[in-house]
Symmetry: D2
Subunit: 360 residues, 4 copies
C-alpha cells in the first residue's frame, strides 16, 4: 500500500482527491492537513465523504508527516507551496504539487506573475510538468511533479496535435475559455456567492490571468520541437477566461490560423485530415476522446471524470476551431494528480479514474 | 459473468444503469433495447457513456433476447412492463422491474391508480418489493423484483424505524417531498424545458400522485407488524411532491405526531431516544446514514450515489420531523436495482455502488 | 416629491428598494448609507443599477440625515435597528423598518429569540405590523412600520382566510417552506457560495428559526379574532424552512386539519367552498392572486414582483393544503415596504409595483 | 392609443412583448394569435402575465386582424413571416418583424441560408434593419422593420465603433458568443430539457449558424462606409455560438486585430483611446453603457432590460477584445421591437423600457 499524505485538504482539490482515492485499491490516506480546519473532521466540511468518517485534519507539521507518507499531494496556496514541496523532495519523498510554484521553468516568469522570488530553483529544475499526454516518460522517473493548471490542461490538449504537426500558425492563437465556479476554489467571497453567480456570465482577467505564462511556456515548447528554426523563443497568446454558472467543467474554444499548406485544400478534406491527425496523436491515450467530424464536446460529458473530450471544426474564414472540455477538478486537478501518481508507482493509469460522468 | 439485458435503456434509469454497471466486475451487458432509438448507438444519446462505444440499441424482441441474459432489467413505461416481466419470469429468468407494474400487491389498487387491469396476477403474487433494508431476505430468493419508486424509497426509509417501533401515530403522516427534474424522465415536454424549470419551484400532483398507494401499502405493512391490533387495514397519508430545479435528488420532509409515550418526556431526551432507535434500526445497512442529532441531510451529499441520508428533529408542536435525502436515479432507481441484483447473485452488496458523491 | 433615505443599502433589500423606487414618480432617493461601503458608488456594488450612477454610500450619521428624508427605510441588522428607528420616529419622521426589531409585540419574545433587550418599548407599542392585507387601515395612520419577514408574509397570507373563517384547527398547522438564497442576504459565507448551494437542497433551522414567533404572533391574533373563546393565548406551529437553489422566491406549503364542519362534506364541495372563501377574502387585494381549483403557484410567476399567488388543495387524509408563492425580496421585503409607503402617503398602492415577472 | 396586434404570441418573444407592453401608457394590445394555442388564455401558457387575464389567443386571420391594429408585431417562424409581413404592409400598416425574413438584403443570401425563395422582394427593399443605434433615422420613416437577431445585436454593437473608426482589421474578426437557453425559443425538445442543459456547456452551429450572414451584412455595411476603397464587398467572420445554462442573456466576446496605426502606441494609451471612441460613439444612446477601462459586463446586469453593456480590453498579442452583454429576449428581441415602435410613433424611446435588472 502506498501511503498518501495530503497537505492542504480543505479545498475542492483536496476533497476531490479524497473522493477519488477512496476507490483506489493500492493506496491508503494516512494524513490530511488544513491550518484553518485543524481538529475538525473531514466530514464536517464535506459530509459527502462518508468513507472518511473519523479522519481529522491536522496541522502541516512537516517532520511529523514525513514518516507517514510515500507520496505527498500538496494543495497549498501559490508561493506557500515552495518550501513544503522542497522539504519533502529533499527528504526523499515523491511530491505532486497542485500549486503553480513548480510549473514555470523560468524563475523570472514566476517572479513576474506571482510577485515572489522562487527560493528553490534546484528543486524547480528537477520538477516535471505533469501532463501525461506529453510528458509521460519524464513523469515516470520524476520526484516532483508540477500538476498542471485547469485552463492550461484544456488549452494545451486542444492545441497539442495542431502545433506539434505544424497545422496552425502559433502566433495567431486565441483561447476563449469558460470555467465552472469551483475553479475559483472553496471561497467565502460575495463575488462567488450563489446569488451573484447564478444566472450570470462574465469575462474576467482579460490580458492578465496567471495561467497565461504556463500555457505560453508549454505551447512554445511544443512549437520549438516541431518548428525548431522558425519560432521566436517565447510564443504569446490571447487568452480570455469566463465564469460559467456551473459547479464544474471547463470548455475552451481555441482559434488559430491554419498553415499555408491548407490554403488550397477544400474545406472538408482539411477537416478530415486534421481530425485524423488528432485521433492519431491521442490514439493510445486513455483519457482523451477525439470526437468524429461534426461532434463537439459538452462539459457535462466529462463531469466528475478524468476525460478530455475534443471536437474540431473550421470556421468561415478558414481558422481552426478546437474545442476541449474537461472537469476542472478532475483532469484539471485531482484526477490528473492521481493519474500522475499511477504512472509514478506503476499502477494501471486508469486506476480509481475509470468511472463515467454522473449525468444528468 | 452474469449476463445482463436492459429492456428500455434510452431513459435516465437505463443510462444510469449502464453507468453503474460499467464498474461492476461480475456482470456483462449483452443487450440494451429501445423502440424509439433502435439502431442508434448508446453514445449517440448519452455521449458520456464512453465505455459503451459500439453498443447499439436493439428492439425488444423477447425470444431473441431470452438467451442473452441471466437477469433482465426492465425500464419500460408503466403497464407496458407487465407482459415483458411475465415472459422472462416464466422462462426462468430473473427480472428486476423499474415500473410500478409489480409494486402494488392489490390488483384493484393497480387498476384504480394506473387505469388498466393487471393481467399477470400469478406473477404479481411472486414479486418481491425490492427495498433491501426491509425485504433483504425475500429478495435473496426472489425471481421478480419490483424496484421501488423514488419518492416511496425516501419516505419509507424516513419512517420505517418510527413506525416499526411505534414512535409515531401513523394516521397523522404528512410527507412533503421535493424531487429533481430527472425524476420526470427524459422528456421532450415544454413543461420540463430548461427555461420553464430553472429558477422556478412548484408543488404538483397534490392528493393524486401515483406513488401514493405504494407508500401507503408499505407503511401499512410496517404498521401492521408493529401494531397488529390497532391499525386499520389501509393507512392513508398526505403526500405533496414538488419539482426542484436540480438534475438529481429527492429530499422528503416527513411529519408525524409522536405516540403518547413521549407526552411527558423532555424534548432533548425524546430526540436522543429516537435518533438512537433510528441508528440501531439501520446499524448494519451499508447505504443508510443516520446523522447525529442536529444534523440534516442535503441532496448534494448523496448525488450520484446509492446512499440514503436521514436527519431527525422534533418540531415546536411536538411532531417528529424526519428528513431523508436520496439520489432519485440511484437509490431511487438504478442503484437500488443493482443493489437488488447484488443480493440476488451473492455479490457484495456494495459492488459498483461504492463511489462517493461528485460534489460540488 | 417625498424624500427617501435608505439606511443600510448595500444588501439585497437595499438594492431591491433602489431598483423599485427608480420607477416611482413621487419619490426621490436623497441618501443611502452603508458602513462597510461608505464612499463607494452604488454601481460599484450593483452594476445593474444604471440609474443611480453618481450616487455614493454615506455613513449612517443620523443628525445629518434627518433633514434629508421624509421617510426612512431602515435595512439594518436585527437589534442594530432599534435605536435608529426610535431616533427618526421621535424626530417626527416616518420609518419603515426591514429588521425584526419592531415586529414582535411582546418584548419578552424578542429577548428570547434575538438575545437582546428591547430598549424602546414605547416606540415598539406604536409600531404597526406592515402587512397591508390585514392591517391596511392601521398602516395608513402609522409612523413606524415593522415590515414583515419573508417567510411570515407567505405563511400568514396562505392561512389568513382559513383561520379568519374558522376553516382549520390552528393547533395542527405545519408550514413547510422553501426559500431562494437571497433570503439569507448578500453574504460572504462558504455555505452560501455557488458551489455549495447549486444542485443542493436541504432543510435548516428546524424547530428554532427566528421567524417562528412572528408567524405565531400573527396567526394567534387572527385566530383570537375569529375564535375569541376557544383559543389559547399563544398558538404554536411546526415550521420547517428549506434552502432552494434559486436566487429569489419562497414557496410555502401549509397543512392544517379542517374543522369539524367539513367532516361530512364531499371533497369537491369542500374545496369549492374554501377556494370561494379565499377569493372573497382577497377580492380587493391588488397583489394577491387566488388561483382556480386545481391551480398551484410557481415562484417563477411572481419573480421580481409584489404578487402573492395562492393555490388550495385538500389532501387524502382531509387536510387543507394551502400553497403560497412570493418573491422574498419584493413582497417579502422591498416591495412590501414600498406598498406600505404608498399607503402612508396616499399614492396608488401599486405605484412602482406594477411590473410583471421577468419570466423565463 | 396605438393599437397593437401580435401575430405569434405563444413563444418567448411574444410573452416578453406582452410583459413590456403592459407598462406602456400609449398602446393597447387588441389581439394576439397562436395557431397551436388558439382558444387558450394567455395566462394558461404564461401564468405570470396576470394583467392579461381574459385575453385569449386567436387564429392568424389576416383580414379580421387588419382593422384591429395600427402596428403588427410578427413573431412567426422564419419563412412563415414573409407573406404576413407583406400583407399588412401592403394594407398600409406598420410591421415589426421578429423573423429573419426581412433582414438579409440580398435574396440570394436568404435563399442560401434559409433554403427558400423570398417572394416579396419589393417589400424586402423597403424594409429597414431595426438597430436604432445605427439606423434610427431610417427607422423613423419606415413601415417594415426587420427586428435584428439576438447574436447580431450583441456583435454589431460590440464592433460598430471599432469598424466605423477603422480601429480594427475587419477580416480578422472572431466572435465567440454565449447565449442563454431562451434564445432557442419555447421548445419541447429533449436537447433543451432542464436535465440536458443544466450544469452543461457546449458550442454548436460552428461555421454554419444562420445569424452569420446577418452579422456579415451589417459589419460589411459599416466597413464600406468607413473604408470605402479598401474592403471586399462581403466581409466574412468566424462566429461560434455556445449554449449557456441560464434563462436569458448573451455575452459576446469579440476579437480583432488592431489597425497599423496602433502598432507603436503603448498599451494603456491605446486602450484609453479606444474606450474614449466607444464612449463618444454611443454618447447619446439611452440603452448602451460603455464601461470604464477595466470594467467588463455581466449578463446579469442587463437581465430583463433593453441595455447593452460593453467593456473593452486589449489582449497580450495586441488584439482588441470587445465584450458585449444583452438580454436576448429584450434588446435581442421584444425590447428592441418596442424601442423601434417608440421611434416610429414618436414616443420617448425609453417608454416601457426603463426598468432596471431584476438582480440577483
Amino acid at each position: 500500500m502506498v501511503k498518501v499524505v495530503i497537505c492542504g485538504g480543505s479545498g475542492y482539490a483536496g476533497s476531490e482527491l479524497l473522493r477519488i482515492l477512496a476507490l483506489h485499491p493500492g493506496v491508503e490516506v494516512t494524513a490530511v492537513t488544513s491550518e484553518q480546519s485543524a481538529g475538525k473532521y473531514v466530514t464536517d466540511l464535506f459530509p459527502h465523504l462518508f468513507r472518511y468518517k473519523g479522519l481529522r485534519y491536522g496541522h502541516l507539521e512537516r517532520q511529523v508527516l514525513l514518516d507517514k507518507g510515500d507520496v505527498f499531494f500538496t494543495a497549498l496556496p501559490h508561493s506557500a507551496s515552495q518550501e513544503t514541496v522542497d522539504y519533502f523532495y529533499k527528504n526523499g519523498k515523491k511530491v505532486i504539487d497542485f500549486s503553480a510554484d513548480y510549473r514555470l521553468k523560468d524563475p523570472e516568469d514566476y517572479r513576474q506573475w506571482y510577485g515572489v522570488q522562487h527560493r528553490y530553483q534546484d528543486t524547480l529544475k528537477d520538477a516535471v510538468y505533469g501532463l501525461p499526454e506529453i510528458y509521460r516518460e519524464k513523469i515516470r522517473g520524476a520526484s516532483v511533479i508540477a500538476n498542471p493548471g485547469c485552463y492550461p490542461t484544456s488549452i494545451i490538449l486542444a492545441l497539442y496535435p495542431a502545433i506539434a504537426h505544424g497545422i496552425v500558425v502559433p502566433e495567431t492563437i486565441v483561447a476563449d475559455s469558460k470555467s465552472g465556479v469551483s475553479g475559483a476554489g472553496r471561497k467565502s467571497e460575495v463575488g462567488y456567492s450563489f446569488c451573484e453567480v447564478n444566472q450570470g456570465f462574465r469575462a474576467y482577467g482579460i490580458g492578465n490571468h496567471r495561467h497565461t505564462p504556463e500555457i505560453e511556456q508549454e505551447l512554445s515548447a511544443i512549437a520549438r520541437q516541431s518548428l525548431p528554426n522558425s519560432l521566436p523563443k517565447s510564443l504569446k497568446i490571447t487568452f480570455t477566461p469566463h465564469l460559467l454558472p456551473i459547479n464544474r467543467g471547463i470548455l475552451s474554444t481555441v482559434y488559430a490560423d491554419l498553415g499555408t499548406q491548407y490554403a488550397d485544400m477544400p474545406g472538408d478534406t482539411k477537416l478530415d485530415d486534421i481530425v485524423a491527425l488528432y485521433k492519431e496523436t491521442f490514439r493510445k491515450e486513455p483519457f482523451v476522446d477525439v470526437m468524429e467530424k461534426g461532434g463537439y464536446p459538452d462539459v457535462k460529458n466529462v463531469r466528475g471524470t478524468n476525460y478530455c473530450q475534443i471536437g474540431i471544426g473550421i470556421g468561415r474564414t478558414g481558422k481552426l476551431i478546437a474545442v476541449a472540455a474537461i472537469d476542472n477538478l478532475v483532469k484539471g486537478a485531482a484526477g490528473q494528480a492521481v493519474q500522475n501518481m499511477n504512472i509514478l508507482y506503476g499502477f494501471d493509469e486508469t486506476t480509481a479514474l475509470d468511472s463515467l460522468a454522473v449525468n444528468p
